[in-house]
Symmetry: C2
Subunit: 255 residues, 2 copies
């Protein structure tokens, strides 16, 4: 049974793409067949894995013509990890989808026909609660919510939790929060601990055990188009995403 | 002559809101009458200045009924600084505006009738290139582009520069880039210097002289709803935004 996880938070710069890339790479290292869908016109997940942006063979094309999806599956430098790349033109596709019937189910139609080839489908979302993230919430089974240990990121948590609940009531009865992941955690910064304490008080059982530490090697790895494991397997960032993958696989057994 | 500056970058988490709040506060300290327009449904600029979110007297209401704008002007704790607050409902307003005629000029209609009361109007944009940021590009005279000294932030710079050029050709002949502002600059991090070098090579004369340093006091100030000047006037963050305000005022004289 393919697990479909949307990586979503409308707050910008909280580590969605970094989590999508490195969690997919960690799951592939653990022997899971993975598909990463880059649903952001910025196409950061595409370039962060060293893949080429594509207009004709990207997610934009698959959303307009779902039968094209098999041709949009692109291999990456990691054996068990494929990607459906993105392109800046995806922003136009979002605007043209607004007038289409069942516009929020286009991703489900597109990716639904190839998901059986994979153990995990991860979706990297743009920083909004518009039509593209909505498509991810309608398609996925669960949502992983990266959050920085900072004030503005905490403010937005209520909005994404409400959007998940609303999608569950109206469009996708299966969707639930998979977990809240602290990113860029800096143990020396008092604010990091305050926010972590506050969020854990409200969302306790949803919070992943280990925060991802602030580690510039994660940003450097992305600039080389490779995962943190290939760039520096001994880094704090690599250890953080291995722990995350372990916990996500554990959740699998509980279902 | 009122200067109208949009603070815009579709890349998330690059310091748009932090720049909007502290640049507005610095300009007010310098004796300029300022209006900050929070054009983001996350309403971070609203809470970062300690103001209340508002649905009836916020920017969403003014976009739907421009004659309401004078009632949406809200004072802040800083004498020369007013704000038009935001609210999560602004996301619905964006969706309903899509079908309206001249949808990209609603902000110009709304704020145009009150701008004469101010020396500066600053607009904090959400992390996208959708209808709300487009309204800001159609209304403003110039765009201040905050950018992190990181790889993904650099990738998106071409997209925002292209969006400004396209808006200038089709919708607003006055709009130009005001400048590129490096944020969260960490002199100890090699990647910071690399990205700064690369961007300066391509956009040299657009880059502000001083980067804003990474300073956790900026994040802490926001969590207390006050500017960096009130929170800790001697901080590196405060010095960075004073320098920025000085340079922006200098640009004024050259016009
Ligand atoms: N744990 C970490 N430590 C240090 N830097 C990080 C970490 N996680 C992410 N980064 C860096 O922070 C920046 C923001 O991360 P990223 O782009 O993954 O966030 P995002 O939520 O996908 O942003 P957007 O909202 O624009 O899609 C990037 O430059 C990234 O390299
Ligand atoms: N110079 C800085 N030093 C340290 N932290 C900073 C700095 N500038 C901003 N921050 C923090 O980084 C985070 C992102 O900044 P901010 O919210 O201003 O970015 P943004 O571009 O407005 O994000 P969004 O794309 O979601 O609107 C915030 O938690 C903020 O407090
Ligand atoms: Mg991203
Ligand atoms: Mg912001």
């Amino acid at each position: 049974m393919t697990r479909k996880i949307a990586i979503c938070n409308q707050k910008g710069g909280v580590g969605k793409t970094t989590t999508a890339i490195n969690m997919a790479a960690a799951l592939a290292l653990a022997g899971k067949r993975c598909l990463l869908v880059d649903l952001d016109p910025q196409a950061n997940a595409t370039s962060g894995l060293g893949s080429r942006r594509s207009r004709e063979r990207g997610i934009g094309a698959a959303l307009l013509e779902p039968e094209l999806t098999p041709e949009c599956l692109t291999t990456t430098r990691y054996e068990l990890l494929d990607i459906i790349p993105s392109h800046a033109a995806l922003a136009m596709v979002e605007q043209s989808l607004v007038k289409v019937r069942k516009k929020e189910r286009r991703l489900a139609q597109a990716v639904g026909c190839v998901e059986a080839r994979y153990d995990y489908v991860l979706i990297d979302c743009p920083p909004s609660l518009g039509l593209l993230p909505l498509n991810a919430l309608v398609y996925a089974d669960s949502v992983l919510i990266p959050i920085q240990c900072e004030y503005f990121a905490m403010e937005g948590l209520g909005q994404i939790i409400a959007a998940i609940r609303e999608t569950r009531e109206k469009l996708n009865p299966r969707i639930r929060a998979e977990g809240v992941l602290f990113t860029m955690f800096d143990a020396d910064v008092e604010l990091s601990h305050e926010v972590m304490g506050e969020v854990t008080r409200h969302f306790g059982d949803l919070v992943y055990r280990q925060p991802i530490p602030r580690d510039v090697l994660l940003a450097e790895a992305a600039s080389h188009g490779i995962s943190i494991f290939e760039y520096n397997i001994g880094s704090n960032g690599a250890r953080g995403y291995v722990e995350l993958a372990r916990e996500v696989i554990e959740h699998e057994r509980q279902e």
